[in-house]
């Protein structure tokens, strides 16, 4: 018959009573990310040449670009943070930050409103002045 006093868990539980908890009090304490943690893809419009290499490498079709229209878009909610686009880009236009994408799903959004997580950039052709309502270098429709 098993020894009824063989209770190794009792000692463990008593120690747990008097020691620090293993959990973190989120959201008052937030864990620091490590340097290489996968997060969001960030895009720099100034260095991009719209070659489309990153679009072909993306396994989830989260990127799209057009050389004629000088247009680039990322669907953050499709991105799986694999980093294939970052590796593919020859111009260092894409890099991965450690933070998660800040995307909030809105209920009751108006029809025609941009999809949550959709970010797009338009580049003006060199030499023409920016028109009213054109954004140069920044996201035209940012994720809200």
């Amino acid at each position: 018959m098993a020894n009824p006093f063989n209770l190794p868990m009792v000692g463990r539980s008593l120690r747990n009573l008097v020691s620090r908890p293993a959990t973190r009090r989120y959201p008052s304490e937030i864990r620091e990310h490590f340097a290489g943690t996968r997060g969001t893809i960030e895009f720099d419009l100034d260095t991009c040449v719209f070659c489309g290499l990153c679009v072909r490498r993306c396994p989830t079709l989260a990127l799209s670009c057009s050389r004629e229209e000088r247009f680039f878009a990322i669907e953050q909610l499709r991105c799986i943070a694999c980093g294939a686009c970052v590796d593919a880009c020859n111009k260092d236009s894409l890099h991965m930050s450690v933070d998660a994408p800040k995307v909030h799903l809105q209920t009751g959004a108006a029809p025609g409103a941009p999809r949550p997580g959709h970010q797009e950039w338009h580049q003006q052709p060199a030499g023409s002045p920016p028109g009213p309502g054109d954004a140069v270098g920044g996201p035209a429709v940012a994720a809200i």
Partner: protein, 361 residues
């Protein structure tokens, strides 16, 4: 005697993934069990038609969250065999280290779930608390806690510095020493013994007849381990598979507990034997399209996994198949469930370490 049919699943607190077993009961004894799967069938193998072979690795590693790394590694290794690519030595060693850490985290996860299955929630929390430290190592070295995306055809995408490797070995040994007390609880606690000993006995002949793999087979005394074939540098390490002869649920728990310390030792041996980082490449460039077919076998935490890839010279593969160890162990589970008490059914299901996501892809 009147028979009742109790459907178990698809949602059940004990099951990590959905599975239906229609249990036919006479009084409290199970006389038959009819399985139905398909609740998590995503048809991932059909994605070869759309996604090209270079990116298909990302799909493969998302077949399952627990066995994720070894799926990615199996795909990369099989493609390298087809395309006749020689991977740098350091990349293979890094893959071995991540694979063994994967085994540690998977066994810790299973031990926690197994403890939860027989009601010992405190022990569940302790196992997962230990597992958090392993996940932190993964996040520091690969960027992800569960899905790593660190394998590619031709090598690996991230390197680990030598100082970092030494720190990882030290941390794992410290973790192993701390886990020894929990291990002792699994092996000697009277309530666990009462619940698991003598339950679900799979004799050696039966284990062979149902083609069990992994710890299921090793707990019944069969010396079956794909790492013994010596591929991927396992022939440069000294290890002997952990065997038990009792073949009951307790023996399977003991095998997995011991494999955790064995994996920590294998990582220590690997770090000693691998080439230093200075100037060692971690990947090679791969050109062209694959043609040919191959089988590849690895030892996942749950047993032997077999990958079959067929490529026809275009950018899309023609066929990808992953026969995961749980697929091979389900007949063993059905055999064990017949004849047991209803209260033992959750324990027996957990004891094959079911990963239904892997089974159904």
């Amino acid at each position: 005697m009147k028979r009742t049919v109790v459907p178990m699943g698809p949602q059940h607190p004990v099951l990590p993934e959905p599975l239906v077993l229609d249990l036919v009961l006479e009084d409290e004894k199970v006389v038959d069990a009819i399985p139905t799967i398909g609740y998590i069938h995503r048809g991932l193998e059909a994605l070869v038609e759309r996604i090209e072979f270079g990116e298909f690795g990302y799909v493969v590693e998302r077949i399952c969250g627990i066995c994720s790394f070894m799926h990615g590694m199996g795909y990369a290794v099989a493609m390298e065999k087809i395309m006749a690519v020689e991977v740098p030595e350091r990349a293979s060693w890094l893959r071995l280290i991540w694979a063994e850490m994967s085994r540690i985290h998977s066994h810790l996860l299973w031990l926690g779930l197994g403890a939860d299955a027989f009601g010992f929630e405190n022990l569940f929390m302790h196992c997962w608390r230990t597992r958090e430290e392993v996940l932190d190592i993964f996040e520091k070295t690969t960027g992800g806690r569960i899905i790593f995306s660190v394998n590619k055809i031709g090598g690996v995408r991230r390197d680990i510095a030598d100082s970092e490797l030494a720190a990882i070995v030290a941390k794992l040994q410290q973790l192993g020493a701390g886990f020894a007390e929990t291990a002792r609880i699994f092996e000697t606690d009277p309530s666990i013994r009462h619940r698991l000993s003598g339950v679900g006995i799979l004799s050696r002949e039966d284990a062979h007849a149902v083609d069990a793999v992994g710890p299921m087979a090793r707990a019944s005394g069969i010396r079956l381990d794909t790492r013994l074939t010596g591929t991927h540098f396992y022939d440069r390490l000294e290890f002997e598979p952990m065997l038990e002869t009792a073949g009951d649920c307790l023996a399977r728990v003991v095998v997995r507990v011991r494999e955790i310390s064995q994996s920590i030792d294998l990582i220590r041996q690997a770090v000693e034997r691998m080439p230093k980082a200075e100037g060692a490449p971690i990947d090679v460039k791969v050109r062209g399209n694959p043609t040919g077919e191959t089988f590849e076998r690895l030892e996942q935490p749950r047993g032997e996994v077999i990958y079959y890839i067929k490529a026809n010279g275009t950018k899309n593969l023609e066929r990808f198949r992953a026969r995961t160890p749980t697929f091979a162990n389900i007949p063993a589970m059905i055999k064990l469930v017949k004849g047991c008490d209803l209260a033992d059914v959750p324990n027996i299901i957990m004891t094959i370490d079911p990963c239904i996501s892997c089974t159904e892809r």
